[in-house]
Symmetry: C2
Subunit: 348 residues, 2 copies
């Protein structure tokens, strides 16, 4: 009842109604379970209460982490972030349901990774970045936090992503960019790279630019047709001698797709592949070319350290907690989605 | 005699004369020493022969080093570089006489540090960077190597230096720039910073912008009057959000001068100091203002991690081994300086 009254006092009318209804349902549910002799464990209660959805924007230096995804015995970004959230929110890991927009690989960096979690507390989003950053390691930083629509999904609601791939094209690698950029000694032909990059823009089957169905990789049933909006090769000479950046923006990415794209572009820049190969690779798509194990060769997949998840794009409505993003689908009493929306491919 | 003949065969006439004379003097000297019963140790011979002067341009990430200068029990850049040179040249540390243009402090980086050493071998300067980089740790890289005039001095021949100080001016520090940039949360007023920077350009007594004569610091007799040619505040928004760089170029620098300058400029940018304070500090110079321990306060010396020795300027003649840079001073038979030239202040 305390929760019910507090909700009514503090919140604007519309939200108050939602909250009071929620509290009502919880209290009634609890009463019902008590009457029928069912146990009311803390997990049941938290699952009922954990209905406020939050969106974090984080940046990290991935050098010392084995990627985003939680692993039993390796340091990962998810593990470090969950530990910080548990400390600050005084809660348990399982309750938060932390998920990220892009499950970055080992050694991949991020400047605009988006992470979602659920929580039963009405957090002061302006203070949360400071609280979290004070307990996070120095190579992970929370930039912003927003409350979101209750049916927000960090992966399915994403409209697209932008990745940056950094290269140092000079005789000797710049030690101040060694952690964040790949080194290419041979002078790169930017005109040829830009020609090849232009061929990639648009909607194509990118099977040849990914690890899908490679030997050892598990075959996937996902759609390999993606739309790239932009593939730019940018010179950043004023930042460091020989600094280059490949910027790739698209609606979705296959596993290691940006690293394949960067590898192909560097092979083109070095003169090892003609730009026309890119067009052929896009035409072949998932129909394996004869021989060569179903793959075009002649390039190396670019190393992880040059890759950075720069930005994930969302509809601005996601940051409005009173919005329902998917009105045609079934929601529970908190606005959470009960049906699943078609999965997008967020494999990079 | 073998050396004498090889010199005559291999080298162009002018150099050959110089070399044959040198060999002559060495052989005569050795004969003399033998006749008078003086020992001819390897050190004496190497000191005689080590008359080819080389100039290395190196870059390093100073994060994991206790600065440039050799220390008994700490990792320093000089130690790592000397170890690499000894491995590649198969010689002893003491023979090389390694010296740097700027003795960078602990944690300070470099993109254009210049290092001098002597060697009795005629090295293939085009292959040396690869040989050295193959044994150097990843955070130190040799960019180029040149043979220099025999009387070249890495410190005294320098015409000036350029330092870069990197800042991230945003709510939260960018973890991908954490090793190389200072973080300033409060928005910086670039116009005020540029006004203060403009006041520093020119010839002034920079005592107030250094650690000279501070309590604990040993008092120095050096000239505190320096000429700054350029103090620029550059915005690098396309590199990273909130990225700024303070570029300082001058004929010489006092100890920690660039970090003092950067600290003052950031205090000005944050509104903690009015730009006019800079003018007053330059006017006061080495005359201590009343109170406050002879120092202006109101700013913090900027941390080492943001500082990078960007470039050291030399007369182009230094890379010509047949030039004598200081014809008015006394030289030995190898062209090496016997008198010392007035020391410049390379204290940063």
């Amino acid at each position: 009842m305390g929760f019910y009254l507090r909700s009514l006092q503090r919140l604007p009318s519309l939200q108050a109604t939602m909250y009071s209804n929620a509290a009502n349902v919880v209290m009634t549910g609890a009463l019902g379970r008590m009457l029928y002799g069912e146990p009311i464990g803390p997990r049941w209660l938290l699952a009922r209460l954990g209905h406020l959805s939050y969106r974090l924007i984080i940046a990290y230096d991935g050098t010392d982490y084995c990627g985003w995804q939680l692993q039993p015995s390796a340091p990962t970004v998810q593990r470090a972030l969950e530990a910080a959230l548990c400390t600050v929110l005084r809660t348990e890991r399982g309750v938060l349901g932390v998920r990220a927009a892009g499950r970055t690989d080992s050694g991949v960096h991020a400047r605009g990774q988006v992470v979602q979690f659920s929580c039963n507390k009405d957090l002061d989003v302006s203070k949360m970045p400071y609280k979290l950053n004070s307990v996070l390691p120095h190579d992970i930083r929370v930039l912003r936090i927003h409350r979101t629509a209750p049916d927000f999904s960090v992966t399915c609601s994403a409209l697209g992503k932008c990745y940056h791939y950094s290269v140092t094209n000079s005789e000797v690698h710049d030690p101040l960019r060694n952690r964040y950029a790949m080194h290419v000694r041979k002078p790169l032909d930017l005109a040829a790279m830009r020609e090849a990059a232009a061929a990639m823009v648009g909607t194509h089957d990118f099977t040849q630019f990914s690890n899908i169905g490679e030997e050892g990789g598990r075959p996937r049933k996902r759609n390999p047709v993606k739309t790239l909006r932009r593939v730019d090769v940018v010179k950043l000479e004023e930042l460091a001698p020989g600094a280059l950046r490949i910027e790739v923006e698209g609606n979705g990415f296959l596993y290691k797709m940006v690293r394949h794209i960067s590898g192909v572009l560097m092979a083109v820049g070095e003169g090892r592949l003609p730009p026309a190969t890119v067009t052929r690779m896009l035409e072949v798509g998932s129909n394996a070319p004869p021989g060569c194990n179903g793959r075009y060769r002649g390039y190396n997949v670019a190393p992880a350290k040059g890759l950075c998840l720069h930005e994930v794009f969302y509809d601005p409505r996601v940051d409005d907690p009173s919005t329902i993003l998917y009105p045609d689908l079934l929601h529970d009493e908190y606005g959470r989605l009960l049906e699943s929306i078609p999965a997008s491919d967020d494999d990079e």
